[in-house]
Symmetry: C2
């Protein structure tokens, strides 16, 4: 039964969730907030939706570049290198990004009488992203339920999984992760050094998946 | 102390809140979701911010016209006439509109280290708008707090007031309500017949304010 809207970036996590739950996904939404890496990841979102026959739309969020502060919105040179847990990676946080994407997805779900919005946040995000943590997810779920006629609910089945757990699930599903994008720099190839690249490499290694990603380093 | 972002439509309620709390408002945001009446109310939002010296930005939400279902997004002829409580007024609900506007305002607040987002929802909205009710407001407040570094909080001081209560407050503040817009049809003058016009007339009468609005009927 098609009852869900999925927020799909084109990265490893949301692409895995797309395959994992494709029978329930009525619509996938990618948000383009004008970062370099949006231009690299959204084509992968399109590719997988086309392959699975799932309707896909891209919603631009131009206001973020204008009124929001984040190194992610300032181009490749502004992206720090190092491990995801490091304090400098905090500069890549786009303030309340998940709240904004979820709210729009809830409005779209309510417009089409769909009961669920799905998001692929996971345990590894908790350290630096406050809007990926279980307490945010629970409160937002309550807000979506209270704020809609159909009582839209939030499903985020990977909230307490690691990225390596997700990669293992993707391996079972036969996903080719070279058809996903992680690097925040968003240049031709993955840089291999920024927090998202380091995290990607570690997760694939830990899941025992051969990493065929082309890295710059 | 300037510590708040206000969501300002240019209608009676949010204009009253603007004057009521102007010493705390660092920034007012109007959202243009492409309805006819946005074009009539936003100039009033601009006027009052200019008068009070409060920075004001307009954020377009073009995706709503494309992916959302609401008679409010379909032009003047689609707006039903009658009392606000009537079932047909439900067609004017823009799904999860407050959730979306609040989320963006929370992101802007976090970007500028502001502690509060303010919204002028009130008791009269509860009947038809699920995202104006106290249970939504409480849950969203918890989501904003959990989902941001600064712990942004939601302030909606009119949640349990009636529109007539707000008009009484505006009378004390010396607000000229002919410099606000309500009518959902958004044609040259207020139509006088749609739910928002009926509600406006009743609130002004109940508050003992001479209604100098030009109505078509």
């Amino acid at each position: 039964m098609k009852d869900s809207v999925l927020i799909l970036s084109g990265g490893m996590d949301s692409v895995t969730l797309l395959y994992d739950e494709h029978e329930r996904i009525a619509l996938a939404i990618s948000f383009d907030y004008g970062s370099n890496h949006n231009g690299k990841e959204i084509p992968f979102a399109q590719l997988h939706c086309k392959r699975l026959g799932i309707p896909h739309v891209i919603i631009p969020l131009d206001f973020m570049g204008k009124y929001f502060k984040s190194s992610l919105l300032e181009g490749a040179d502004a992206i720090p290198e190092g491990h995801y847990d490091d304090d400098n990676m905090k500069s890549t946080v786009v303030p309340f990004r998940n709240g904004i994407m979820l709210s729009i997805a809830v409005g779209v779900a309510e417009s089409h009488s769909l009961a669920y919005v799905m998001m692929a946040n996971h345990g590894g995000d908790h350290t630096i992203y406050p809007d990926c943590r279980p307490e945010f997810v629970e409160a937002f779920d309550a807000a979506a339920k209270a704020g809609t006629f159909v009582g839209v609910r939030l499903r985020s089945p990977y909230t307490n999984m690691t990225k390596a757990d997700i990669a293992r699930r993707g391996k079972e599903l036969g996903i080719d992760y070279s058809e996903t994008w992680s690097c925040y720099k968003g240049t031709e190839h993955h840089c291999g050094k920024c927090g998202t690249c380091v995290e990607r490499r570690e997760a694939l290694a830990e899941a025992g998946i051969e990493d065929t990603t082309v890295y710059d380093d």
